[in-house]
């Protein structure tokens, strides 16, 4: 934990939202929508999920009452940073036709206010780092992502109460945000307060406006205890040792047949995954209009159409699509972006309607593989 940690109370948390809004940010924070915690725009701390907890298991999500009054006492929100910086449907360009000619009339779409994220988790920050690699650090970057990404303010929180679906500690992360934030909060109850670590100069300026006090050694000890306790309670895990080679060597494994029989090819896992980035383009024109739009929308390797070329789809079977997803996320991603494509947030486990658990599938592949390619010892 960084030196110079500060401490704020509930009033200053409210003040933090006000200061960010006054600086022109749209403040996105955890809030309850449709029976789940999502990140959405809030206009005050009363919209935050006070005393709300969650139970996340394979194929099931339920809200609970915590009883301790904590506001950030949930695991990963179903929607966090991805839909904001990488929207499900966005304009690429708009054009106008005149006879057999056309011209591009708009490449920008609606300007968007800069966004401040409050209450994002360590897994969200690490997923954001992946999107920066995939979308920004490229020969041809995604210019729309770049525009939204620049000027983002990140106030993260320590994940005090991970869910059953979580396994970030296996994937090189942990409950405590380590980097890539402007401010990092750790919520302590009894008395209710937030230890704040400062990550950037901008974060320091914002906190100065909010007002804070120096954290006491007991506060810092409580933060360390919370991190240790959260880490210990995360029991789901994935063995990442030699994972890429294991997946590459398992292309013909019977494990794919079995999971292919359970997979709905419904795309839910890819839509909730904070690192999945596949998209398609759609041309939208209406009857009798000389205008047309090219839009980019989220797509998924679980759709048959995804790998369609003249003559048919290259992945007709569910097992081929599941293999593509898992092999890309945990194997090919390492070759492409020198990192794992999974941050262990557990969303794909929770939000799969039939509860398919990728950590279990990896364990099965390991069990079925020979030792020489990373099979189970």
């Amino acid at each position: 934990m960084a030196d110079g940690a500060r401490i704020i109370g509930r009033e200053q948390l409210a003040r933090l939202v006000e200061v960010l809004a006054a600086r022109g940010y749209a403040v996105m924070a955890p809030t309850v929508r449709g029976g789940a915690v999502v990140l959405d725009e809030v206009h005050g701390v009363d919209e935050l999920p006070w005393d709300v907890g969650d139970v996340q298991e394979p194929g099931s999500y339920r809200l609970t009452e915590r009883g301790d009054g904590a506001v950030f006492g949930q695991a990963a929100a179903v929607k966090a940073i991805k839909p904001v910086l990488f929207p499900p449907d966005e304009l690429i360009w708009r054009g106008h036709r005149s006879g057999t000619q056309f011209s591009v009339t708009d490449r920008e779409g609606q300007p968007q206010r800069p966004v401040a994220f409050l209450g994002v988790r360590s897994c969200d920050l690490r997923a954001l780092a992946q999107h920066d690699r995939v979308l920004a650090d490229r020969a041809f970057p995604d210019t729309r992502y770049l525009r939204r990404r620049e000027g983002v303010f990140l106030a993260a929180v320590t994940c005090a109460d991970p869910a059953d679906a979580c396994f970030c500690t296996s994937m090189g992360g942990g409950p405590h945000p380590e980097e890539g934030y402007d401010l990092a909060l750790t919520e302590l109850v009894d008395p209710h307060r937030f230890v704040v670590e400062i990550g950037t100069e901008l974060g320091a300026q914002v906190l100065a406006e909010v007002g804070s006090e120096a954290a006491a050694p007991e506060d810092l000890a409580a933060v360390r205890d919370q991190i240790a306790s959260a880490t210990e309670r995360m029991t789901r895990s994935m063995d990442t040792d030699g994972l890429r080679d294991l997946l590459y060597a398992s292309a013909e494994s019977p494990v794919w047949d079995e999971v292919g029989n359970r997979c709905l090819t419904c795309m839910n896992c890819t839509m909730v995954c904070p690192t999945c980035f596949c998209t398609t383009v759609e041309d939208v024109s209406s009857l009798g209009s000389a205008d047309a739009e090219r839009r980019r929308v989220w797509d998924s390797c679980f759709s048959e159409e995804f790998a369609h070329i003249h003559g048919g789809s290259l992945r007709t079977e569910a097992k081929s699509r599941y293999r593509q997803w898992l092999t890309h996320k945990l194997g090919a991603w390492q070759d492409q972006f020198d990192a794992l494509g999974c941050v262990g947030c557990g969303r794909c486990i929770t939000w799969c309607p039939v509860g398919i658990d990728l950590t279990a599938e990896v364990a099965k592949l390991r069990a079925a593989a020979p030792l020489s390619v990373g099979g189970a010892r």
Binding site: R33, G34, G35, A36, V38, G59, S60, Y61, R62, V78, K79, P83, P88, D89, T100, N261, R262, C263, L264, T265, C266, M267, N268, M271, V272, E282, D283, V284, S285, S286, L287, G288, V297, W298, S300, F302, S303, E304, E305, T316, A318, T350, W351, C352, P353, V354, G355
Partner: protein, 275 residues
């Protein structure tokens, strides 16, 4: 795009036909209101009894066909329509899978007939309700009960512009998630057919926190067995798991197969209980 032949003086001639159905899909065209004038400007509506008494003789460039085939007379009529139509598009669950009336396919029509009608001998009806595609070739199928008017306009626009209609064949879940909904099945335990159902409605029911009841019929690779297993494991009795597939698209092949699988499960359970 550059096919001017469709645009100039000779607007494509459009006809709308009704078979066994409730008229709801045709009404979607009338419900287009604002867009109807655009439609009227882009095509010449040559036969549409629901909207106008004027009749223009065939052949037609585009025929929109609503309803399923349930009588011998209808088999003959759809053949004639096909012959005089360059492009034939079917509208809705009845025309694409046989509709709710295909529930007869799972029972004895003679029995229904004798219960419902005083003089069943005057009635000429087939044992099964079948989609249009069981009788003639179909160029494009629009799903739904009723169809989505946006999809109808998209298909008409595509026909006029000689392009492929942008009608997705993947699951409702994709639309639901893009719309930002929270999954009703995972978060509330509400049974939902979204994962096995074709998109196109904009995830209408889940948006109002209700489960999808499959009115757009099966998506292109539906895993109905895996979904049913999950629903049953979550407490749905097999007879209900059977009935959720016996609605608007009961005779669509993947839904029919699944409801019959559940029917067998019910029968096996019944035998077990009787022992």
């Amino acid at each position: 795009m550059f096919d001017e032949s469709l645009k100039s003086s000779a607007l494509p001639k459009l006809a709308v036909w009704k078979f066994a159905s409730c008229d709801g899909c045709q009404l979607s065209l009338l419900n287009c209101e604002e867009e109807l004038l655009t439609v009227a400007g882009a095509v010449s509506i040559a036969y549409f009894p629901e909207a106008t008494r004027g009749v223009v003789e065939g052949p037609y460039d585009v025929s929109l066909v609503e309803g399923s085939v349930t009588s011998p007379e209808e088999i003959e009529r759809i053949g004639q329509i096909r012959e005089m139509s360059k492009t034939l598009v079917t509208l809705g669950a009845c025309a694409t899978s046989g509709g709710i009336q295909a529930l007869r396919n799972f029972a004895d029509v003679a029995e229904f007939r004798s219960i419902v009608y005083a003089h069943p001998e005057y009635l000429s009806t087939l044992a099964r309700s079948t989609p249009i595609s069981a009788h003639v070739s179909v160029d494009f199928e629009l799903r739904g009960c009723p169809i989505d008017k946006g999809q109808l306009l998209e298909v008409l626009a595509a026909l006029v512009e000689s392009r492929r209609p942008r009608i997705p064949t993947y699951s409702v879940c994709a639309e639901c998630k893009r719309r930002g909904n929270v999954c009703v099945m995972v978060a509330n335990g509400t049974p939902c057919l979204g994962p096995v159902t074709q998109a196109g409605c904009g995830a209408l029911c889940p948006t109002y926190e209700r489960g999808c009841y499959g009115c757009f019929g099966p998506q292109n690779t539906p895993n109905t067995a895996a979904l049913s297993d999950q629903l049953v494991a979550a407490g749905m009795p097999p007879e209900v798991a059977m009935r959720v597939y016996r609605t608007f698209n009961a005779a669509a092949e993947p839904f029919r197969r699944e409801s019959e699988r559940q029917e067998r499960a019910v029968a096996v359970a019944g035998k077990g209980a009787g022992r």
